[in-house]
Assembly symmetry: C2
Homo-oligomer: 413 residues x 2
């Protein structure tokens, strides 16, 4: 592999061409890439089978092996993902703000690509292609650093992408891949401010914390979701139960799943047994002492309230007031997605205003925090930070802007 600095130069040079590429040129290139991936199906599956074999030899859990595995239909889904991105509006060279100063200068705030984006991700090989497609469509070059467990799959996928770009007007250097599992290269990447404009870590909490702590390149924190559902005293309890079941059990391994249920004391006696009856056969309940008066559950610890279980486990706590619920959410939450079930308008507004999170729901499941659900078409992850972009990161979040000022000789007084 070439050194990271050399790769950086290629990416930066390519990003200049991406910056001026038309939507049509980008879409044609994406179509070419999708064809190349299909043409290389056998190579990709063969490479993936090597990763799977190694993973099993290293005793990877079957759940994780499943995330790593590709088959023909999964590769077709990846190709479908490219088609989705082709259909999305180009987010570049648009303005929602143009104004003219008294002196006649006209200022346009135009969306432009960030330049070169780096992504550090775990396991799933589909991210390789998804991230490339979103970056290309938003005019950004991308540096990929996938998991060492997926290196054969990723190498084959990147080779197919580059093959697809070969005859297009987009340079093959629009995507580069760190084909080396040496961790020192990640550290070098985190400090490559001379060519990287943004780094997105996508994976578990430890990876994200490591990247945020060590990067000098601006980062976009994604993913960690310790999400809460608060049943207010005026809640429609049937709706609350239906939403809890959805938020907790529809898919447990995702960041927008519910991890803790907060229940107002006035409805706990009625609501908690409903919960117990509905989900105790699938979900382990860990509740505070007050709740245990109404249901059978393990006693919840402080750590339970801090944990993103990503599993069939639900922490439960009775609160005396909406203020206590908001305080709990702001203390333990990860600023991802939070929900209140209430029929009281004042409380709905209060919860939405005072809870500090990317997305705050009234009477709906937290599971909707997702680029596709929001109508963004696709996403690079869910940002849990407040700067740059918050919530689902779609094409419009992968841009920056430039002020273009048109004058006819103006000077400052």
């Amino acid at each position: 592999m070439e050194g990271l600095k050399e790769i950086g130069k290629i990416l930066k040079e390519s990003s200049k061409q991406l910056n001026i590429a038309s939507s049509e040129e980008k879409n044609v290139a994406l179509l070419d890439v999708s064809k190349a991936i299909r043409n290389n199906m056998d190579k990709i599956l063969l490479a993936n089978s090597k990763d799977i074999k190694l993973a099993r030899e290293n005793n990877m859990k079957e759940g994780l092996v499943d995330r790593l595995m590709l088959d023909e239909s999964r590769v077709e889904s990846i190709i479908d993902g490219i088609q989705t991105v082709i259909k999305l509006d180009d987010p570049i060279w648009k303005s929602d703000k143009v104004w003219t100063l008294k002196n006649g200068l006209t200022i346009s705030k135009m969306s432009v690509p960030l330049g070169v984006i780096g992504i550090i991700y775990e396991s799933r090989p589909n991210v390789t292609v998804d991230a490339f497609a979103l970056a290309l469509k938003s005019g950004n070059a991308i540096l990929l650093r996938g998991s060492s467990t997926a290196i054969n799959s990723n190498r084959a996928l990147v080779a197919a992408i580059k093959e697809g770009l070969t005859n297009s007007s987009i340079p093959t250097g629009a995507v580069e891949f760190i084909d080396d599992t040496n961790r020192a290269l990640v550290d070098e990447m985190l400090k490559s401010n001379e060519f990287l404009d943004l780094i997105i870590p996508r994976g578990g909490g430890d990876l994200i914390k490591y990247v945020v702590k060590n990067a000098t390149v601006p980062t976009l924190e994604t993913g960690e979701g310790n999400c809460h559902l608060f049943i207010d005293k005026t809640a429609n309890l049937e709706d609350g139960l239906k939403i809890l079941i959805n938020a907790k059990t529809q898919r447990v391994g995702v960041c927008n799943a519910c991890e803790t249920l907060l229940v107002h004391k006035d409805v706990a006696e009625e609501f908690l047994p409903m919960v117990e009856k509905a989900i105790k056969d699938r979900v382990e309940l860990r509740a505070d002492a007050e709740s245990k008066a109404y249901i059978e559950a393990k006693l919840a610890t402080e750590e339970d309230y801090e944990t993103e279980f990503l599993d069939y486990i639900l922490a439960i706590k009775i609160v005396d007031s909406i203020d206590e619920a908001i305080d709990h959410v702001n203390k333990y939450g990860t600023k991802h997605s939070e929900a209140i079930i209430t029929e009281n308008l004042k409380n709905a507004t209060k919860f939405q205003r005072e809870v500090d999170a990317s997305t705050v729901y009234v009477n709906a499941s937290t599971r909707f925090t997702d680029g596709s659900e929001f109508g963004f078409g696709a996403e690079m992850g869910i940002s849990t930070q407040k700067t740059h972009a918050r919530g689902p990161v779609g094409l419009e979040q992968l841009v920056t802007h430039k002020y273009l000022v048109m004058g006819n000789g103006q000077t400052r007084k």
Copy 2:
């Protein structure tokens, strides 16, 4: 002084109240603060005179002493600055995007405060009040870390601000001040992710680089401006000269001043002598060998092209084409403000699209990159980074957003 962690708790708690404060409450508090500053005029000037005395004892250059100095009229300007912020629109709890999904969920993207902002700045005591006022109006608490040379002035100003807040509905903990010149506290501040949402370094290049390199809190790089003016071959040379004089000499110590002049080879013979005649008595010219055929100048070095002079010095270079000009700007520029003088539409568009900077001018002076000039009313600095905010940082750049989702029982399929 209390420890930084204690101060952090006060700020975080205060930010909760700021988050729900109405515009009227914030404006009344700002008015109270402006009155308190006037009422404490004598104390503030006395404190400032101590800083000035110490500065002179330490042989500070008179130019820097002047930046540090307050007198009655300068304090009145600071008070006027607060009045300006009072008149600005509240940037909080607004939406430019509300949409409804097929399933009936309505999503509103609402502007909300960032939370707690930290600012690390040099010398000028007016920044203490300006930064506080912008933070308060945008619903953010602020932690101030000024220069050790201004510590007496800043202490007096912060005391006056807190006195002004005492009888308002805004907590005095909306502003806290690191009343200690120990550098270790800066390092602690840079890693205080548990209570700081953003750090803005405002000062020289070394300070900014130090902060960006060492902070784990998201940062907003401001200020460094190595700005260029490119005279294209179709330029109106009279306009070009007028704009160059303005951009280079109207005020030399500012980040949006021009540092390098690039001239197309076809007009160099005519334009460079015009420049020499107009500014050689005030501005030292440092030119490449080609330019020296037409004017008297020192030979420019590589370092000259890299330097933000902030002085009566102009680097000059002849380029063969607009592409060479764009390459030079993208290589040496700091992504701040760049200008082309041209009558050619294609080149105007090309320059604006391909130059990577916060603001790209056609036929106007780079000196307009400024919050007040742009119509933002006031500014916290000029961002030269691409993430979060780029260009002048006014109230609208000191916010984040939250997605509010209203449902009536929706669950994800």
